[in-house]
Symmetry: D2
Subunit: 343 residues, 4 copies
């Protein structure tokens, strides 16, 4: 029997609609580096989806690459980026932000999220310090929507972060690696146009949301970084056949594919959550998105591991652990049925 | 009428065999980051093609990314990389090598190539200088095979470079963005096993040679860089769905596809060269590979530009310029016929 | 009336013996960059004081410069440096370590110090993590002797840190900006030869300990970094008139000056501590070195501030704060008498 | 007999007036990091000498350090610095500019100098290139006054460079390591106020011109870099006892010392040049400053080397070489007499 895959949301290729477009366009000739008509069309669709006609949209290949390139471009050399200690840039990017010269100013998270009050306190401390010129200046706030714990920033929370950014001349950047799975949640009240209004930059993740690969960076102020193209090149992040990104994002923003595939993953995750609760397994996070964190006893973990791919997240005690199941655009109802049958 | 495309070798998607494999494997589940079975299979095929069973093979996405990551990994902080002034890293990578901290020690090329004698003289000067500790140490030699002018290093020339590297404790790195088009030339006498014997690192370019994207870095000494994976991650160059690279390179090294597509591009280029010569247009480079440089008068350039995509390389005089036509795996005999008919 | 200066230990020029040597040698001619006979003599004296005849000794100008240059030289690109959250590199060096590409892995301090058990736990977590190649590898331990809180690492504590370093292939580096004030403490049981036995690198601070400026970096294994000279140059840290550093360190290690001036500062600090305790002001740190941390009420702080320079360190409550008084080689018994008279 | 020293201009300590001020102020207490009254006074004197009351003046320790810090602060990440191939940053700073992320765009010099026409051509090529976003943008012009060959930029030449900078949005930076020896030349027509009018930044070198160490960076637009202090700290270039720089520069700009010591070195160099010409030894550079380049036969070189310190610069033929003699503030008329007597 084949195993069931709930290990992550990047374990398959691309959604069928996306792959079909890549195949259809495969032998067409275009210029390189994202200056082609497919990229132009995709940019227009993203600008429309964000209700932000003046935005600059750049396509990059992967998430860490996007984070480090955008952060590097938005920070001045003497500035650091404020992030949750659990933020992706704080933990799982091999120090790429520091490798490129900037300190991550990591704050303890609340429910997986960066709290505006904590950021404000960090800034107040900095600006109140008479020797602050010997200290890294907070220059930017980094948050992931949804967070690494699967939780969601509310519109009010993002506005509070924006207010702190405004008060202290900081930029606000949202990592949207799994943004489709936030947008599709009934609990979510932050839209793409909201992000375009609140952020200096954010990215619409494709790698985990239906594409082979690709992340679309949106700078709502299109004039903010006139030389970002060269910055991307310097980071080795410029794709020669940029049209591959354009074709894919164009497909993703056609017929609401991006929103539909998010919704299917959320429906799958919701069914899983219900099933775990019914089975008496306590949820370990309030995540309403496609990451399901649940406490299981070791016997159950061992039994499931025989036929299901998932991740043991952290130990609770000698006989229990928090386990993560991730759904995605490729998760089928049958996959969910099969997993539930195993509980 | 559709235009004829001779502008570059990255203006289409992937070879049909490669795309087919991506489609077939699209919904299979794998782990990420290149630790999957497709990557393992592709690595094995590349090791076999290089007759180098102990090699470490890493897959990256693009050429500049590969150059900067490999150079950064192989150089020590106080070292620079010796390259031709016309080398890709010297000119068209937006200073990515310097951005990552290393000087490119650029030497005048001979027929587009770096001459071993010139490299030796550079090293002799360095080591003879009593204040050399105030100077960048030559730590590596970078060459492209074929060169940016389309010319080929002979085996004797590469051995001479290797000898200089051995004499001065330098590493030798070959940029193989267009390597398929070198290997397929009758004039070529440098094989993949030769590269594996002579180089500390080289890469087998996929982006320009049949893949959607992807470059396979080969370190013949598999133990040379035990933490290269993390280095790749730090550079933002690690592809989450690494299997996309494995699938593609596996297809490329199945049924000699890599060698066959190189040969078809060379046949096309040879037909073009013959046609230009017959038409009385002097060739501007001794390139035997897939880049054809030819001197045309401005009237001809204007006439061709109406229906052909190509690049004006440099001005010769008031009425002539050097023009570059590039063939590739996607160039059809009909494309060549059509272009020749226009001469 | 002149004010009393207890603000820091770098508020004056140089000890008289040091300045005298600079004046005596001022018009002598030497070669540059630390290759002169004064530097050679100073190196020999430092090697002798460390009982480490094979050590490489390099002279740099300032503390942050020394830290960033040594850390950069000893870390490999994918490694970070473990330090206390209160460590100088974590807080007051403007992100210089990150600016040069490395993450500071900051751990909560115990009594101002980095605990070997905490470092071990950090390393165990790293090496137990299956995705550790996506995480910054701990490559080095940074501690200050005395710590930023004035506390001392015991020989047993340093040996425990060394054992963790040995277990996890990490280097151990001791920042000795105020090392003279550690060595002179009766409580101290760590000698210069101990440091040479235990560390991969440490520096003997001159700026705060009697010199105009200058820090002597000691690499007990003299063959460890054959190109450190060039590394220093690249960091802009190479002093043209290197002999100024040689002359000063030679004077500092003549007639035990380095040890004598440390002792006088400790005697002054001890008298202050006694006086504060007698005056009913609780000490806020167990520091036995030249930094005296004491809790004062705001009225006392205001009264003292009228005639004494010192630093308010942190607030305790609405009416009290921790205040820092620093003694140094330039603190006279009369200064201490005058301050005590004000309590 | 003591040897005669003409090897460089940093082989002694400080001018007597400077050393005297350091001694007088040695035990005074000040705050650190250049925020003291001595630095304030020195800044005022430098602003006055430059007729630029709004300038920001920062004191750094050494030349390479100053170059790399200023260049790093003035360049944006995607920009490089245009310099002569013989420029100090191109050759003898161990790649410090590249180490900090920027390419040096090196152009062939004319009489040791960067020609405005050559810079303009470089910029024209860049801006005419349709793929310029893949290329390093020229962002700054670096020149040394006097040049590394001892030659002088005329006011007209500097204005021409400024005009190119204005035309292409570049900054102009003048390295004044030996500026005193330019200002003191009868041939010179560029004053400190001229530099303040023409440059975005320049530095007044102290290390080679009478100080123990120290370079004064002048930004004529005092608002240009509000966080330069932190930039200096990040580079490890901030001197704790900043007052040492203030005291020295204050002395240097008291009683015209800076100009007088330049004049004495030029008088010595002029006497040497005359003597060489009279002795039939051809001068090898048109340098009118304190560096004297002369062609000598090997027998003479060997004879002089027995009692004189100087530098063999480059070979002319099998029996002759260009030799460099450097005078400085410390060169006495007796030294010159003695050398001339040996010819």
């Amino acid at each position: 029997m084949d195993r069931l895959y709930f290990g992550s949301d990047y374990q398959e290729g691309a959604h069928g609609d996306v792959l079909a477009r890549l195949c259809e366009t495969n032998l067409l000739h275009t210029v390189g580096y994202g200056t082609d008509e497919f990229c132009a069309a995709a940019r227009d669709k993203i600008r429309a989806a964000c209700a932000c006609p003046g935005a600059a949209v750049h396509f990059l290949v992967g998430g860490t690459q996007t984070n480090v390139t955008v952060i590097d471009a938005l920070l001045r050399p003497w500035e650091g980026v404020v992030a949750a200690q659990s933020g992706h840039i704080s933990t799982h990017e091999a120090g790429a932000v520091e490798f490129h010269g900037h300190k991550v100013l990591a704050l303890p998270p609340t429910d997986g999220k960066l709290d505006a009050a904590a950021v404000r306190a960090c800034c107040e401390n900095y600006w109140a310090d008479e020797s602050r010129e010997h200290i890294v200046m907070p220059g930017m706030v980094y948050v992931s929507q949804p967070s690494e714990s699967g939780t969601l920033y509310s519109l009010a929370e993002l506005r509070a972060l924006r207010a702190v950014c405004d008060a202290y001349d900081m930029r606000l950047y949202v990592d949207g690696a799994r943004l489709a799975y936030a947008l599709a949640c009934p609990e979510n009240d932050v839209t793409l146009p909201d992000l375009a209004q609140l952020c200096d930059a954010f990215y619409i993740g494709g790698t985990k949301c239906g594409l082979l690969f690709g992340e679309a960076v949106v700078f709502p102020d299109g004039a903010l970084l006139p030389h970002f193209f060269t910055t991307v090149k310097q980071h080795g992040a410029l794709l020669a056949k940029g049209r591959l990104l354009g074709v894919q994002f164009d497909a993703l923003f056609t017929n609401d594919l991006y929103f539909r595939l998010g919704a299917s993953a959320i429906a799958a995750a919701d069914r899983l959550r219900d099933a775990f609760v019914r089975a008496g397994c306590p949820l370990a996070s309030s995540s309403p998105t496609n990451q399901v964190f649940v406490v299981l006893d070791d016997a159950t973990i061992a039994r499931l591991a025989a036929s299901v791919v998932f991740e043991v997240w952290s130990r609770c005690d000698d006989t229990h652990a928090v386990v993560r199941f991730v759904t995605g655009w490729a998760t089928t109802p049958a996959d969910v049925d099969a997993l539930i049958a195993l509980l």
